[in-house]
């Protein structure tokens, strides 16, 4: 089998096996073995104390813009100029204003539905392709993998001229897949389902011992049974990671959504919120901040739900590339 890490050490294989079977190191795990290089002596500060300082600095840097958003969201005046880092009030005016004055509810539902469906579908399409790339040897396999990566490096927005022309025609022929529809945007996003994510997945699939599927095949299992029955349950971490990455990517996507969704109620959060501050930058800032906080809820929730898979999934997939 392929070890998780191409190291000269035999000990690596065991560590990779553990991850391959789906219980990789989680975001919240502490390192299991003590890391003590050389002697373990020294004062508390040189051992642990300075680490707290680094951690606190990092936390402060990570959090201060978020605290600023929270402060702005609860700022009763709702303007940028009156917002400070430390909250000055606790008014829910911005939230009620957001819900009453804008189509935020529609934007929210549109975004969550589109991101969830597109994330799940692209995870599935990617897993199918990764299975073929990991388990079969066929002509054009390596160029195919390289092509997947390169095609995504092409600057997307010019292709939007084409996409616009295409969807003008699609809107005439099939209004249910046209502009301002969920399904139209979802199938458009499916164009990017194969790409870096397929590489991540393929790398993880490679860490699953091939003996497993071969012995199943000897027992008469078909390739579909191997895929759904053996492989998929073992690759949950990378499925979680790719699903999450697609979800975050979709919910944040602006360029395509902005030309695709023009009717008020069909907009996604990215398009709708951008419209709030595009013109009235200072005055709408509180409402915008409230919208940003609410937008973060589905992503953060998904992030915590999947956190135990994330670190393991990201790195194991990265190893083989």
């Amino acid at each position: 089998m392929s070890s998780g890490m191409p190291t000269p050490a035999t000990g690596a294989a065991g560590a990779a096996d553990g991850r391959a079977l789906g219980d990789g190191p989680g975001l919240l795990d502490t390192p299991k073995q003590p890391v003590q290089l050389g002697s373990a002596q020294g004062s508390w500060f040189s051992q642990v104390g300075w680490r707290h300082i680094v951690a606190l600095l990092a936390v402060a840097f990570s959090l201060f813009p978020i605290i600023f958003v929270i402060s702005a969201a609860f700022n009763p005046q709702g303007t940028l100029s009156s917002t400070t880092l430390i909250p000055t009030g606790a008014s829910t005016e911005n939230f009620t204003g957001l819900l009453e004055r804008t189509a935020f509810k529609h934007w929210f539902i549109n975004s969550v539905v589109i991101a969830a469906v597109a994330g799940a579908l692209s995870m599935f399409l990617s897993a199918l392709a990764a299975y073929a790339f990991s388990r079969y040897r066929f002509k054009g396999r390596r160029p195919g993998l390289m092509f997947l990566l390169l095609v995504q490096m092409f600057p997307q927005f010019l292709a939007m001229v084409t996409i616009y022309i295409m969807f003008t025609r699609i809107t005439e022929l099939y209004p249910s897949l046209g502009f301002n529809t969920w399904w139209g945007l979802i199938i458009l996003y499916m164009g990017g389902a194969l790409g870096v994510n397929t590489w991540l997945m393929k790398g993880f699939f490679d860490t699953i011992p091939k003996d497993l599927d071969e012995s199943a095949k000897v027992d008469g299992a078909t390739h579909t049974q191997v895929f759904f029955g053996i492989i998929l349950p073992l690759v949950t971490p990378i499925l979680a990671v790719v699903g999450l990455l697609s979800f975050i990517g979709t919910i944040n996507e602006f360029l395509i959504a902005n030309i695709f969704l023009t009717e008020g109620n069909s907009k996604t959060l990215a398009v709708g919120l951008f419209g709030l501050v595009a013109g009235e930058r200072n005055n709408n800032f509180g409402i915008f901040a409230a919208g940003t906080l609410l937008t973060a809820i589905p992503t953060v929730a998904l992030f915590f739900a999947l956190q135990k898979y994330i670190v393991g999934g990201l790195t194991a997939g990265a190893v083989k590339g």
Binding site: M5, L27, D29, V35, T83, F254, N282, V319
Partner: protein, 535 residues
């Protein structure tokens, strides 16, 4: 086993199908798999029929043929038992071809044309546009009663003119292609069309919101064009400029000026070299590419932009990686209390909506009421100075990106076996030495593909600029290129900017950007593959 050695084993990965289960069709599957296959292929057939109907109705035979061929290909792939990989690749590849490969190929093909504002359609379309926009009202122009209607939504649908000839009271319908009699119309006693089958007539309020579309609509006739005058009357004007086939030129009937067709430029040009604004689309060969390399001002901008573009991408990738790794190392200690909560708080930026946080950061850098100036007590004009603006966009992108690198390196550190560094320690190596010679190379191997794709992403990170500085600040001496413009944001303005769209030129720029990124990525991948072999 490395990828390279497995590649060499060739078709060993092919499944050995139990004998007697070959052949075409649906034999040789378990009942459940068989049922699933029938249902899924049935869905493909149903979708094909659903998609075919509008194509038949609109007589789009080429698209119909493509659709049927694709459907046939799908059936062949899933009914034949021999080749397994296509069965798993086809679903993703269909979407990839439709929405990535096809648009990219179309973009590449426009890179060799002058496609853009004023050069969108054919020569005939350009002539029609020139002639009908030159229509002037003359003394004895015929007038019509006008109703404005649409087949679609009154706010957005394409407009048509419903006209009645004041003398004959005959109802006519006119759009950008011409005029023809209107069947089944109700005409009021005043002579206006009040209803027409299949059309919605706009009321005064709806019409007034679309006054621009109405005044732009010009219905060509034999001698001129019909244009609206207000929303209830239209006149038939005479065209002041007309195309003359004999000289292949446009002649102005009142001034006598002529513009000759120039097939290389796709424009009508007079003897002073001035072109009419409506031209047509022609092939310009490599003209767009030579323009990038030959144009003096563009050349200096291109190189300085390229330099900043590289600096931005590298600074962001290595900055986020170095800091992410440093924090991961600092937190990689078994006796550190509060580790879980630290990690969650540090990665929180990654979970926030990036586009919104970029806008928030933009406002935090605001000179007058931004948080940064508020906290430091300064009144720095962050986005007014090109260097400070560059620093600001790097800081913003750094904040968004370092939690990801922290996550990745944390995971990689946990998967590096500790016995390696312990053994080095026993052998007397210093901590730093064992980190540099053991941990760091392993980390690089583990994260190289992510670093390369992160570089490619940031090289073309349009959002990082578009949501913050929009390319600015723009120096007064060269207002086209801003201090923080990446190649991509500059190209974006070329393609969609206020100066009129230049898709052909923008497509050529995109192709160049793509080549740069692709070549760097391929070289880096080759090098990391080599690194992997050594380890």
């Amino acid at each position: 086993m490395s990828t390279a050695t497995r590649e060499a084993t060739g078709p060993a990965g092919q499944p050995t199908r139990p004998s007697g289960k070959g052949g075409w069709g649906l034999s040789g599957s378990s009942p459940l798999a068989l049922a699933a296959k029938v249902v899924l292929l049935g869905m493909v057939a149903a979708i094909t029929v659903w998609m075919a109907m509008p194509l038949i109705a609109t007589q789009s035979w080429v698209l119909l043929a493509l659709l049927l061929l694709s459907a046939l290909a799908i059936f062949v792939v899933y009914l034949q038992p021999r080749y397994i990989p296509p069965k798993y690749l086809v679903p993703g590849v269909i979407f990839l071809l439709l929405f990535q490969v096809f648009p990219v190929l179309f973009t590449v093909s426009t890179a060799f044309t002058n496609f853009g504002d004023g050069h969108r359609g054919s020569k005939e379309e350009a002539i029609t546009a020139i002639e009908s926009s030159s229509v002037k009202r003359v003394k004895d122009s015929a007038t019509y009663s006008l109703s404005i209607a649409t087949k679609g939504d009154p706010a957005t649908g394409d407009l048509v003119f419903l006209l009645t000839d004041p003398k004959s009271k005959e109802a006519l319908i006119g759009d950008a292609t011409g005029i023809k009699p209107l069947e089944g119309a109700e005409v009021s006693s005043l002579g206006r069309v009040t209803a027409a089958e299949g059309y919605t007539i706009l009321n005064a309020g709806q019409a007034s919101t679309r006054s621009k579309d109405i005044s732009n609509l010009s219905v060509p006739t034999d001698t001129g064009a019909i244009r609206a005058q207000g929303i209830s009357r239209a006149y038939e004007g005479v065209k002041a400029r007309a195309y003359d086939k004999a000289c292949d030129c446009i002649k102005d009937t009142t001034t006598g000026a002529t513009w000759k067709a120039d097939g290389d430029r796709g424009s009508f040009v007079n003897d002073k070299g001035e072109a009419l604004s409506q031209g047509w689309r022609v092939n310009v060969g490599a003209g767009n590419f030579t323009r990038v390399f030959q144009d003096k001002t563009l050349q200096t901008h291109f190189l300085s932009m390229l330099a900043w573009n590289f600096f931005f991408a590298l600074a962001v990738v290595f900055g986020t990686f170095a800091v992410g790794l440093a924090i991961a190392l600092a937190l990689h200690h078994p006796r550190l209390k509060g580790l879980k909560i630290y990690r969650i708080l540090i990665v929180l930026p990654y979970a926030m909506p990036a586009f919104a946080m970029m806008l928030v950061w933009r406002d935090m850098f605001n000179q007058d009421f931004g948080l940064i100036n508020q906290l430091t007590g300064a009144s720095t004009n962050w986005f007014g100075n090109p260097w400070l603006a560059k620093l600001a966009v790097i800081i913003i992108q750094f904040w968004l990106g370092y939690p990801y690198m922290f996550l990745v390196t944390t995971g990689a550190l946990q998967s590096i076996p500790t016995d390696l560094t312990e053994a080095a320690g026993v052998d007397g190596a210093s901590k730093f030495f064992s980190f540099r010679t053991i941990t760091l190379p392993l980390l690089f191997v583990a994260t190289a593909p992510l670093l390369i794709s992160s570089f490619a992403f940031n090289f073309n990170n349009f959002n990082a600029i578009g949501f913050t500085t929009e390319g600015g600040p723009f120096p007064p001496e060269s207002p086209q290129v801003g201090g923080t413009d990446l190649l991509i944001s500059y190209t974006y303005r070329l393609a969609f900017g206020a100066g009129g769209a230049q898709y052909g030129f923008a497509a050529a720029m995109s192709l160049l950007i793509f080549l740069i990124v692709a070549i760097i990525s391929i070289i880096s991948f080759r090098r990391t593959a080599a690194l992997e072999e050594i380890n």
